[in-house]
């Protein structure tokens, strides 16, 4: 009976492994994926170097990655800009991550981010006359609520009509773009602005606590990480969320309410994405343009996957991608590499995480209980299950 034996070997981690060794092995796969992505990025840079410099330049990746590192970690200001760039990524990453834990794929973080930002900006303009002590909580709170509401909708639809959240959140992303375009070029349009955008917010501007632009949104993200870790792993609600994600039927038999939990999870997810949008608008941009271009909602998916939907993992993944964003400007200036290279690197990291088979073969990493595999593979259930209630 070799077959069941073989199956067991893969599913169970070796008993002798200690906690340290286990967590090291947990890091091995993401680290390998990042390393491989950097290699792929380097190959692309070298191959395209005739277009950058006019001749084939093997040293170009070193210049580019060097600039990326010094632009994100080379000075105090660089580190601060990394933190600022990481803030929305961590918050939105947590949003996508908690969805994953409940077996929900929230592609709508982008839309919830925009709605959070729009609501925060609207309230920020409206409360311009109030002192910051009142204006900031009001604006931030409105942003959070808007995100929550925008996450509630697909959660409700999923729970009570079975409409798959992947499709509804994709559609809602585009609805959000139109709502923002309408609001910021119509009723909320500022008076003396050159292009369609809201008025600049008044006293709701998040105070800068560190460096040139290190606003308190950083603290918000720093608080959100342990809070979500506590919620997921130490609270009853978190246990129920994880149970629904692992096995909705078992959750129902255990007396939990999958429908309510789906709605609640999507609402919390929306709230976090809304917080990302609100802190970005209140702390960084100080107004919201009608055609606000951002990719935070999609980067958040990458952050959550790289962080294996664990709050601490998401923190580090968010910092990494934040560093890439922060350093990309210097990379473009010093090496002539367009900032879009960051998207390429992110996609390739995800590719190697999804295709961990290749990574395992290349680095001879042994199966660690297939944690990553099973997590990635059980996230999306079939559309067809939408009616199987």
């Amino acid at each position: 009976m070799t077959e069941p034996a073989g199956e067991l070997r893969v599913e169970e981690p070796p008993q002798s492994a200690g906690a340290v060794a286990r967590s090291l092995r947990l890091l091995l796969l993401p680290a390998a994926a990042i390393g491989l992505a950097l290699v792929v990025g380097a190959v692309i840079m070298i191959a395209s170097s005739p277009l950058v410099r006019g001749n084939l330049n093997v040293a170009l990746p070193f210049t580019a990655y060097g600039a990326l590192v010094s632009g994100s970690m080379g000075s105090v200001n660089a580190i601060i800009s990394t933190l600022v760039a990481a803030t929305p990524l961590v918050l939105a990453g947590l949003a996508v991550g908690i969805g994953f834990k409940a077996g929900l794929f929230n592609i709508g973080a982008q839309g919830q981010f925009l709605m959070g930002g729009l609501a925060a900006a609207a309230m920020g303009v409206a409360t311009a006359g109030l002192p910051p002590v009142a204006a900031i909580p009001l604006s931030l709170g409105t942003g959070l609520l808007a995100g929550l509401a925008y996450g509630f909708v697909p959660g409700f639809l999923k729970a009570y009509t079975g409409a798959h959240e992947v499709v509804t959140t994709i559609m809602l992303n585009y609805v959000a773009i139109q709502i923002l375009a309408w609001a910021a070029s119509g009723p909320l349009r500022g008076e003396n602005v050159t292009f369609a955008r809201t008025e600049t917010i008044g006293s709701a501007v998040l105070p800068v606590i560190i460096g040139r632009d290190g606003h308190i949104g950083i603290i918000l993200a720093a608080i959100a990480v342990p809070t979500m870790a506590w919620l997921l792993f130490r609270s009853t609600l978190g246990f129920e969320i994880r149970t629904v994600g692992a096995n909705p039927d078992a959750a129902r038999y255990a007396g939990m309410h999958p429908r309510g939990l789906i709605i609640l999870t999507m609402a919390i997810s929306g709230l976090l994405a809304g917080a990302a949008g609100a802190s970005e608008i209140l702390g960084q941009v100080h107004h919201i343009p009608a055609a606000y271009a951002t990719s935070v909602g999609f980067d958040a998916i990458a952050v959550a996957l790289l962080g294996r939907s664990h709050p601490v993992g998401i923190l580090f993944a968010g910092l990494l991608f934040g560093a890439m964003r922060a350093g990309s400007g210097l990379m473009q200036i010093q090496a002539g590499i367009p900032v879009q290279m960051i998207n390429v690197l992110q996609a390739v990291i995800l590719f190697f995480l999804a295709a961990e088979l290749i990574v395992r073969m290349l680095f001879r990493i042994r199966g660690d209980g297939g944690a990553a595999t099973t997590e990635l593979q059980t996230i999306t259930r079939s559309y067809a299950e939408q009616t199987a209630k």
Partner: protein, 368 residues
């Protein structure tokens, strides 16, 4: 007709219909032109989802193809003679661009197929990877290439029908709007009809539907689920390639970063709204772009009277959001239900093969 216009409430409806009858022939060509890339993208999704593979990477595939078509055509225009032959403005550089775009999209499809069928990774993640990568690589290369500002290779031209067709009563304008297309648009029209027939009348169609609904049952009657899925996903790439190429060498003649602008996702919506059939998705694509077309018509020539005020008062963004809202409503089953093929998104594994193969990938099983 005028009499009906004065009726309370219902009168507005008659006014609207009367206005649409006047306006549609004028805006029909733009509506059809806008629907073609969406329908082609939806055909890509159709090939994927009918055989049980979710593809949210249509947007990325289209963007890649759009870039490659433009780039390949533009480079080859500097080498090969670019004189057009035939009535559709077909020239060697444009053909090279078209073939390159199809090849690129099929290559991306192959990656999607490999990740979702062989590796059995999450198919939504695979699609997400494709979308992020496409935005990155096309933006990256486009920025580098635009420094040298290569000349455009031009674009395919439209079929011009004889005037007699356009002058036909009642249907003349419709025939003219639908049939006055370049080679890619005409290709779509043929593909819609052919695939609709193949899906319900051919062995391939029966097998594809079986694999999409119940792969285990399909396997027991001897259908190679994995091979069929691979084939269909890659053919899907062919359609995504056409969709991208349409944007840069038929509808327009240049490339801008992220120019697909959500068309791949509207395509997904059209696929759902069209209930996973070629004719349905084409109809859905037309309906969606009609929404945009009416918005433009209202802006430039609103109907007279209260109806015109009403239509002008609706923000233009509402028309743009309408396709997405309709799709959500349809999915929620409020007005009619649209159900996906049952096995969509579920990776297929032949269980015996899986049990033997999987341990071997991480470490050799100790077989006796």
């Amino acid at each position: 007709m005028e009499f009906f216009y004065d009726l309370p409430v219902i009168g507005y409806l008659f006014q609207l219909i009367g206005w649409l009858v006047d306006v549609l022939p004028i805006i029909a060509p733009t509506i059809v032109a806008a629907a073609i890339p969406i329908a082609l993208g939806a055909m890509c999704g159709f090939m994927n989802e009918r055989s049980g593979v979710v593809n949210i990477g249509i947007e990325g595939m289209m963007l890649t193809a759009a870039f490659v078509a433009w780039w390949a055509a533009s480079i080859s225009a500097q080498v090969v003679p670019s004189g057009a032959f035939g009535p559709l403005g077909i020239s060697a550089p444009l053909l090279i661009g078209l073939v390159a775009a199809i090849g690129a999209a099929m290559l991306v499809s192959l990656v999607h197929a490999w990740l979702s069928i062989t590796v059995r990774a999450d198919q939504i993640i695979s699609g997400t990877i494709i979308n992020i990568f496409a935005v990155g690589i096309t933006g990256y290369l486009n920025l580098l290439i635009s420094r040298t500002a290569p000349p455009s290779a031009g674009q395919f031209s439209r079929l011009s029908l004889p005037d007699a067709v356009e002058d036909l009563p009642v249907v003349g304008w419709l025939l003219d709007a639908v049939l006055s297309q370049g080679p890619i648009g005409l290709g779509l029209l043929v593909a819609i009809v052919v695939m609709q027939i193949l899906l319900f009348r051919s062995r391939w169609g029966l097998r594809t539907r079986a694999v999409g609904e119940h792969p285990e049952a399909a396997e027991t009657v001897g259908i190679d689920v994995i091979a069929l899925r691979y084939r269909n996903v890659i053919i899907g790439g062919f359609f995504a390639g056409l969709a991208g190429a349409y944007l840069t060498i038929e509808f327009g003649n240049s490339f801008q970063g992220e120019m697909t602008n959500g068309r791949g996702f509207i395509a997904l919506a059209a696929l759902i709204f069209g209930r996973w059939t070629p004719l349905g998705l084409f109809g859905a694509a037309l309906l969606f772009t009609t929404s945009e077309g009416i918005q433009r018509a209202v802006r430039f020539g609103p109907p007279e009277g209260a109806l015109g005020d009403l239509l002008s008062a609706i923000p233009s963004q509402f028309y743009s959001a309408l396709p997405y809202l309709i799709t959500i409503i349809i999915l929620a089953g409020v007005v009619g239900r649209s159900l996906a093929p049952a096995a969509v998104g579920r990776p297929y594994s032949r269980e015996k093969r899986e049990k033997r193969a999987r341990p071997a990938m991480s470490e050799a099983p100790e077989t006796t």
